[in-house]
């Protein structure tokens, strides 16, 4: 690859070709772009179901289980990955089993259970840390990730996890969709909604546990919630919004990484800000469209 620029942080030249070349000039940046794309695709699909099932809180709770996972692993001296998977899987099981039926009346209990699991998990993390009596290096990296130190091996690991998660969703996608859209009807039709709900949380937990190690827990959460929420605002059609969710996630990640490359601020800030801007745009568009539709009809109370 020809080296066109020796400037590291010189800002974009606003010439797309040379900017793109500059972006892909360094291997760390190529790895970051690859990892970001994989995470964005997986989060776009898994998060789409999460948003559809209104389980954003559970998603956030599972993503912060990275903290007790990492500190617990430190304490007993196993690999961080084992700690992440174990704690995240446990939390997913507890939330899934305790939540039970997801009817309107149980929303409060579900939110209380999730909150308690999260608080308890973090409290355990705090305890592990105080028992370890050492310093948990890179406290911020744990939460926000660095994206810059990603190796080729990690990219491969990410790709494997993403492929497994997407394959699982491809197999369980139809019943999961059914159970998410109309739980009561699905149950009457013999779909094991509770098992599917817990299974989905486990999948979410595993996906988050793997990606959090590499890109940081909070960035995963942002990519899980914002692009799917934006896509579901834009279109109610299932296939289209799923595809849009992945597309928005990938574009947001690329834009955020490019901005972080050219302007020296944390990548987590750029990605979340771009994702939030996209969501605001979609919301404004939705509000305009709704107002137009409302003017056409007589004002009816919303359901």
């Amino acid at each position: 690859m020809p080296i066109t620029s020796v400037l590291l942080v010189g800002g974009p030249s606003l010439d797309p070709v040379s900017d793109l070349r500059q972006l892909t000039e360094f291997p760390f940046m190529v790895n970051a772009l690859e990892a970001g794309t994989i995470v964005a695709v997986m989060a776009g699909v898994v998060g789409w179901f999460m948003v559809l099932r209104r389980q954003t809180f559970a998603g956030h709770t599972l993503s912060v289980m990275a903290f007790p996972g990492a500190s617990g692993a430190l304490l007993i001296g196993v690999s961080a990955a084992a700690g992440y998977f174990l704690v995240s899987g446990l939390a997913a099981l507890v939330i899934g089993l305790a939540a039970g039926r997801r009817s309107r009346g149980s929303r409060g209990q579900e939110s209380a259970t999730t909150g308690t699991v999260q608080a308890f998990g973090l409290a355990c993390g705090l305890l592990f840390l105080s028992l370890y009596q050492g310093v948990l290096a890179n406290y911020e990296n744990l939460l926000f990730g660095s994206f810059l130190g990603i190796t080729g091996g990690q990219v491969l690991a990410l790709a494997a996890v993403a492929a497994a998660a997407l394959a699982a969703l491809a197999i369980a996608g139809r019943p999961l969709l059914f159970a998410s859209l109309d739980e009561d009807v699905a149950r009457v039709r013999g779909v094991p909604t509770r098992a599917i709900g817990t299974g989905f949380l486990l999948l979410l937990g595993m996906a988050v546990a793997e990606t959090a190690q590499i890109t940081g827990a909070l960035l995963v959460f942002a990519l899980l919630v914002a692009p799917p929420a934006t896509a579901q605002l834009i279109t109610p059609r299932i296939g289209a919004s799923l595809a849009l969710s992945v597309l928005i996630g990938v574009l947001v990640t690329w834009t955020g990484l490019a901005l972080a490359y050219f302007y020296d601020y944390p990548v987590g800030f750029y990605i979340t800000t771009v994702a939030f801007a996209a969501y605001l745009l979609a919301r404004a568009g939705r509000a305009l469209a709704d107002r137009g539709a409302l003017a056409a009809r007589t004002a009816a109370p919303t359901a």
């Binding site: 009346g105 579900e110 209380a112 608080a119 305890l127 105080s130």
Partner: protein, 283 residues
């Protein structure tokens, strides 16, 4: 135990914070808004970092940011209950802003930011001064008074929005006012005892109280009592076991209470079927 000033301070601030969390938490769980409380506690983190980066007193940033975002959360979505997904999106962005302020702050002051982050997230109950503890107690008492003032209409609006609205209860204004109270609770609890403890005390005692009784005022009282009990037992436990952080002890007891309420109210097969029928009719 009571001879130590740090312990008396912790007990004073902790008791009032627990009472505030218990009463606010009852409504938070009733309205399924624990996520909003969680989001607001992270907003508090970002607000404190923003204030630190700008060189303002952290408490100003805490209160300004949490109450402002609480108003935003209350004004979006239907019926001011806050829309789960919208909260998640705003939450993610606020976290991103937190990273930015952290970067700005650590560039300005150089290092030590991890410690600051840990303190903002986990607080330090045993590190409060007498003045801080008294201030925390006064603010918490004011929050309890605020919640009790709007308790009746808020209960009505939370249990049956449509009927309440038809009867002329200002449902939306109540929802926004309540979220502002949640915001104030988070802001004050975050700096006094930490965001972690706040979330645990908001969710677990109220969740247990809701499971144990359908009577709203009894549940409200139970929720406050459970929170207070967890606080006292947790403080004593963490005093006795030096390596146990107070937050961990308090949350472990609150979570155990909640887990116990699951065992006590485990539905029998017949009851479950009846509940399923009732739930099916409701939807």
């Amino acid at each position: 135990m009571f001879a130590h000033e740090f312990f008396r301070n912790a007990l004073l601030a902790g008791s009032f914070v627990a009472l505030a969390c218990g009463t606010v938490g009852y409504f938070v769980v009733l309205r399924a808004q624990v996520f909003a409380g969680d989001a607001l506690s992270h907003v508090a983190f970002t607000g404190a970092l923003a204030a630190a980066a700008a060189g303002v007193d952290a408490r100003v940033g805490l209160f300004a940011a949490t109450i402002a975002i609480a108003l935003v959360l209350g004004s979006i979505g239907r019926s001011a209950a806050g829309d789960d997904v919208a909260i998640g999106v705003i939450f993610a962005w606020v976290l991103g802003l937190g990273v930015l302020f952290l970067a700005l702050f650590s560039r300005g002051s150089g290092g030590g930011n991890g410690l600051l982050g840990a303190r903002a997230l986990f607080g330090s109950l045993f590190g409060l001064s007498g003045a801080e503890a008294r201030l925390a107690a006064v603010i918490a008492a004011a929050i309890v008074a605020g919640v009790l003032t709007i308790a009746r209409p808020l209960l009505f609006a939370s249990v049956d929005v449509d009927v309440a609205r038809a009867r002329g209860v200002p449902v939306r204004a109540l929802g926004v006012a309540f979220l502002a109270l949640v915001g104030a609770t988070t802001a004050q609890a975050t700096q006094a005892v930490g965001a972690l403890l706040l979330l645990g005390l908001l969710a677990a005692p109220a969740g247990a109280a809701h499971r144990l009784t359908p009577n709203p005022y009894l549940a409200l009282a139970l929720s406050a009592a459970f929170a207070l009990g967890a606080m006292w037992l947790g403080l004593a436990l963490s005093y006795a076991v030096a390596s146990l952080p107070p937050s961990t002890a308090i949350i472990a007891i609150a979570a155990a209470t909640y887990a116990l309420s699951f065992l006590l109210t485990a539905p029998r097969p017949g009851a479950r079927a009846a509940a399923a029928r009732a739930g099916g009719g409701q939807n």
